[in-house]
């Protein structure tokens, strides 16, 4: 798939000299060196492969970035404009490409983006059993506790959620799981037998439609970040659905200061908080806390 998106020369190098199993991200910025994120650490891409020597780094032009985005949309930007409005494109094979450029606003809403100046290609990895440390704290007495996974970007939140759903299926726990996947990232190669998915819609719409039509036991969703998302979570909880969600934050202390989550914390909606970092690589467990923020593990 990368061969269809990337400029020929860059693809040749990546294909022959970079171990893609270890790559988390490729970053392209106009007239800047190409960055390869390997195991959570940033390096430059050079003719010889991955390097930390900036003098050997390969650069990308604005035209090349526009071409990557054009190719990623299967040469049809108009067909993915709804995604572009939210700042990303999901390719045919499920890769998420984040986009930087100019936002065009009309009537106080985003109409589209143009003059693309940067993009990052994220490579999702299924890390089997990566959630096992937290699993017994989240699932016990045949019940799933409402859980929020917290971490800075690129620390394995989505991988954790994906593995958790996989583990439920592996243990033949017949919970009906509903993935509300705003960005189409959650279900890459997911092999769960009890899983439905609503993708590329807002959380509000996904929660309302999903609960009404698919009667899930558990809703799994990524990146809670807006007032509307919080309302959707409350709607799910009051409908008797269990939650497994994630959000961005760099520390537990800062999380507690976020006004967006104050109501959720006060109402003790989440019974478990899992905090991840990339201290020892993406997915490092920093702690598992209960609703009173007492450390469980």
């Amino acid at each position: 798939m990368l061969s269809k998106i990337l400029p020929e020369k860059i693809f040749q190098i990546i294909d022959s000299k970079v171990n893609m199993k270890l790559v988390n991200e490729l970053r392209f910025r106009a007239d800047k060196p190409i960055i390869v994120c390997v195991n959570g650490k940033n390096y430059f891409l050079a003719e010889s492969g991955v390097t930390s020597n900036i003098d050997a780094a390969l650069y990308t032009s604005k035209i090349a970035i526009e071409d990557i985005i054009f190719r990623a949309s299967e040469c049809s930007i108009y067909s993915v404009n709804e995604q572009i409005k939210r700042g990303f494109i999901i390719t045919e094979s499920g890769l998420r490409i984040g986009i930087g450029g100019n936002i065009v606003e009309e009537n106080s809403s985003v109409k589209t983006m143009n003059h693309f100046t940067s993009c990052n290609i994220r490579f999702p990895h299924n890390v089997k059993n990566c959630c096992l440390t937290a699993f017994p704290f989240i699932f016990h007495d045949n019940l799933i506790e409402n859980t929020l996974v917290i971490s800075p970007p690129n620390c394995g939140k989505t991988t954790f959620l994906r593995d958790f759903v996989y583990q439920l299926s592996e243990r033949k726990l017949p919970f009906n799981v509903l993935l509300i996947d705003e960005r189409g990232e959650l279900d890459v190669n997911l092999t769960s037998n009890f899983c439905d998915k609503i993708a590329f819609c807002s959380k509000k719409m996904g929660f309302e439609n999903g609960i009404r039509s698919l009667s899930p036991d558990i809703i799994v969703t990524d990146e809670i970040g807006q007032e509307e998302d919080i309302k959707a979570l409350f709607y799910a909880v009051t409908s008797g659905v269990r939650l497994l969600a994630s959000t961005h934050c760099d520390s537990m202390e800062n999380f507690l200061k976020k006004p967006l989550f104050s109501e959720l914390i006060k109402e003790k909606v989440f019974k478990r908080y899992v905090f991840l970092s990339k201290r020892n690589g993406p997915g490092t467990f920093e702690g598992i806390f209960n609703e009173n923020f007492e450390r469980l593990g």
């Binding site: 061969s3 526009e66 190719r71 040469c75 049809s76 108009y78 067909s79 143009n114």
Partner: protein, 163 residues
Amino acid sequence: MRYFIIVVLFGLCTLIGYYFFCKYNKRKRLFSALILLGEKLTVDINFSREKLKTLIEGLDQGIKRQLYGIDNVFLDYLDKRGELSINSLKKLDFVKQDEKEFILLFLKALGRSDVDNQTKEIQSFVKRFSEIAERCKAEYKKYGSMSIKLGIVGGLFIVVLLI
């Protein structure tokens, strides 16, 4: 032998006339097909938002024939098998250089913007294609049939001279 040469020369003159007739006819057909292509893309992009490749592959055989290979050149470009350059349109020997450049501009603009802007862009290209198509029709009317007639008349003139 003499009569054989006379027949060959007559045939040659008629063929030259026919060649020019075909050239004007092809030009007329190509630009009419490009207008149809533009209008079809406008409708499809607005309603189905299908990918360009699907839209081009799904074109009616009639339009495809009249595009004289432009659709294949474009599909190769979409599949990264070829480039969009004047060289890739070298088969269109009946199209002028500036017209080729304009066709390339059209193809390069496809798929690069949101629905609104794409529609406006295609419409402006269709407008320009319509102007060229009108000119081609006028040329065809004026010179198309005249070329064949001139070919035949020229051939007959040589025949008379030789006899």
